[in-house]
Symmetry: D2
Subunit: 312 residues, 4 copies
């Protein structure tokens, strides 16, 4: 299953081969992978198209510097940790990244809710979409969660899985066939019937289902990228967007290794305890045995609290 056409591969290769001299901050970690398509799901990808700055840009801005702004790595690391821990967010807004992303429409619909970003999407009013739709791997076909109204539970059995995949595939193929039919447009781009006019693209697209792929250029700053990752690389996020967040986490690591480290430590691996949680903690540390009924937490909050303390 190939994500890219030969022409697309050639365009990417040509972009990668071009090179020029710059006085700007250069991230060697990102230069290595620039323009390359990192595959996600069955037809999707993430490509880094451009970036501005790296860890150095964060400390340079924090110091409102006339020069490079960086000092010893240990000093820069300390500053970045301090800024992140104390929610000094503006220096992280001083680095920027631009991605080309291809993803199913229902993923794009979640993604777009992060408003602090610039987006230019491929227009299905203007162009014809490809026959590309997302079909989950069987191990991703989970039942509705019983505990969580908004999540997945156990994987469905193999018979049910097969039936579901069959329905998804057939409906997707048919809706695309009919999309082309309405457009009066065959697979090679020619009219099916010279005497028909073909429906306007902006109308025909409504027959496509939400698993069809769309693509866009997406640009955001490092602060807002971390907000996105904090929510979308989380276990509560839907699997199909989480896999994109995971790929972008790797991009983050290459781009801004010090910020990535601080982000892991102070956001991803961090835990927030409510006022009641902190009180319970203090009592526990003083040797008291604390039960749920000794606190004012809801059952759900108590369970979350205890699971954080138990994890290893």
């Amino acid at each position: 299953m190939s994500v890219l056409s030969n022409e697309q591969k050639l365009q990417i290769q040509q972009s990668r081969e071009a090179s020029a001299s710059t006085r700007r901050i250069v991230s060697s970690g990102l230069e290595e992978i620039l323009y390359e398509a990192m595959p996600v799901l069955d037809h999707g990808f993430v490509r880094v198209i451009d970036y501005m700055g790296d860890d150095a840009a964060v400390v340079q801005a924090a110091r409102v510097s006339y020069g490079r702004g960086t000092r010893q790595v240990s000093e820069d690391r300390g500053l970045i940790n301090y800024l992140l821990r104390h929610w000094h967010t503006t220096p992280f807004e001083m680095a920027e990244i631009k991605l080309h992303v291809k993803m199913p429409i229902f993923v794009a619909r979640q993604w777009i809710r992060h408003r602090m970003a610039n987006v230019n999407e491929y227009s299905a009013r203007y162009s014809i979409l490809d026959r590309e739709f997302y079909i989950p791997a069987p191990e991703q076909l989970a039942a509705q969660s019983v505990q969580n109204r908004q999540g997945r539970g156990n994987v469905v059995g193999p018979v049910e899985a097969e039936r579901i995949l069959e329905l998804l595939k057939e409906d997707s193929q048919r809706s695309y066939d009919h999309y082309l039919d309405m457009l009066n447009h065959d697979e090679t781009g020619k009219p099916i019937d010279e005497n028909r006019q073909g429906l306007a693209r902006e109308l025909a697209r409504m027959n496509l289902s939400l698993n069809f792929y769309t693509q866009w250029y997406w640009k955001t700053d490092l602060h807002n990228l971390m907000n996105f990752l904090r929510l979308r690389a989380d276990t509560h996020a839907q699997y199909e967007i989480r896999v994109y967040a995971d790929v972008i986490l790797d991009v983050l690591k290459r781009w801004v290794p010090l910020t990535y480290e601080a982000f892991r430590e102070h956001r991803l691996d961090a835990a927030t305890f409510s006022g009641e949680g902190v009180k319970a903690l203090r009592r526990m540390l003083s040797g008291e045995k604390v039960e749920h009924s000794d606190t004012a937490m809801s059952k759900r909050e108590w369970d979350e609290f205890m699971s954080i303390l138990a994890k290893r």
Copy 2:
């Protein structure tokens, strides 16, 4: 074709019957229609849920006033016209409106691009969508425009229209049938088969097509509402979002009649001429006969220029 269930009608009626006293600015024009569903397309609507301020809030803020801030209507009108004409946008940000909107997903996807708004969408991860999808009226089934890659041309013939509507309806019905099937959920909300688990809602939804209806609460300020209307009540906007904009234009007129008037005059009915356009105008006014070849405008810009001057 009924847009609302009886229960929904009752809830709306109850909301409309409640009433309380307030010291705030009250817009009598909006109070009249508050909570009512104004139908759009075949299953959609716009409902005004809440608002803050009206024309008076604009002038009050412009004057950073300790009191109501309003004076004579003629003075307020003059101020509002001046503010709008000179792009003093911040006073218009001081009035706010909240709408409940139901619209096809492909319309929602255009709408959400207006980032300066607050949105809370009905979640298909959490809930099950209704069997409601948009089927265009036959007179809306237009062919792809020949001049404009992003628009509609002539209406397609009746035979083709019938065929297209048939495809749209069948595919929509089938995709919804299969959606329920995957969920293991019959039309009354019961499991189809007690032994099947049913696919997670966040997955099953991907089988629905872009003409299915979604709904959200959408809140924005008067300045950004006018930006939305300027772009979406425009003839270049897709018909299916324009009809929503047209309904909201009427809401605007009820809510802020002075601002509405100024908006019509200085935005909707206004025309912008480029530097070259202004030069051509001056030559024409001095009696010169100006042709396209006498200017540096592109053919397309020239045609747009001439059509503005010719309109009546």
Copy 3:
């Protein structure tokens, strides 16, 4: 020391006396104090000018409801707690508040950094500012902190305090005298010298110092208001902005009591521990004695960590 002129008091009183009927959600807690000036610092205030929604608007939006959306108070409280704890921020964006604030310019300069708000400031290009400047109370005259490069330490001695206050007062008075002089404008608004033209207001204002008072209309949604309060009602915030945040915290309590409660519990009284912090906690809870040297925390982070656990 009176904050308001008699004319301003009259305007406020007239606004408070007007009353009308509305179908909208009404917050009785806010109606009581609507338009009233709550004094802050020596010449400043906060006034609530308008609002949209209250706790009910949050749950109504979260449920994308056709009616009021509220249920039992206990159910609404549970939902609001859940939303806040899990960073579901969009329902909180559905309530809005508008304040009239008067504050020293250096406070306004910190405040404006919260970009997700609408602001209309009194223009010193257009109008003449009053002779109103902030002089700290002697007990607020603190020395530079030794630990914290960005904060206050001990209160300065009475002799030094007197000297400082003298300098501040004299310089403020003189800069205002010269401001009027440049404008050729006496205290009653008449020209000082009929033969002089008077400097443009947009220029003369530059002679005023940063403790002069400015004022604006400021409007934001409940989510962003809580962001503002989390940062500005914090002990790390400068005292002169914190007193405004404290007054607004009281407004929050009146306006949205359930959200206020959840905000206290899950933001103000909550504590976030880093990955290393959580690991240390687990070891401590299992009975181990943990020292700073047993962890990878910086000394500063360790001190913050221990002080949270010690507080009572």
Copy 4:
């Protein structure tokens, strides 16, 4: 009068001398001037610190391209003109620029109102400001405008100018002397008196006047940069911010020559006529003689209308 210290000059020189290879789009026009301080007013400057993309990034995003996205210059120019003319703003959000700006505080206060930007300002809570304040050139000392409540009229006479400049200089010097005094900090950075503590920096700064210089890192995208320039390079903008906008206009020309051209043509040199204005135009073009009294325009709007048509 030197804007930069020798150490600052050295830091800039070192930044300029460093160079590395990149696969990204490189703007040769910006590389030439990267990091250099372009002087503005008596102590201010604009420095380009970093950028992402150029004209090519606009067309690349508009085409959601896999490669460079650019074609013939004439095709790219046509596309950029089309996008700008029709308010397709998202492709212009795909290029980004970061500036280091030093400006008087009253200029910073206008500048910050452009919210769609990232800002990190030099902190006077944390650091001590330099003895640098803006004193207008005598030819900039204009009287209050008679027509326009928010603007300048004629230059004041030489005697009055001298008096005003004297006041400004003396007050600025004195307020800085007292600032240092309160801080217990002499010009070389040593304590004035070992027995005094020195006031906290966050308090002492309030004695400085609005003509003192501050500085920040400011980052925005090309679309929002053009919004800034449209308002601030305009004749209605205050001179002291307009000179910054003028320098940035030159930066724009170097960076994105095609966009600059289109921006001049369709924004700076363009004119917008209201509905009434367009009607009057049509009558004039058909040979009719139109007076103000024949239209529904206000006197002020009519004057603006006629002055556009008269300009050459």
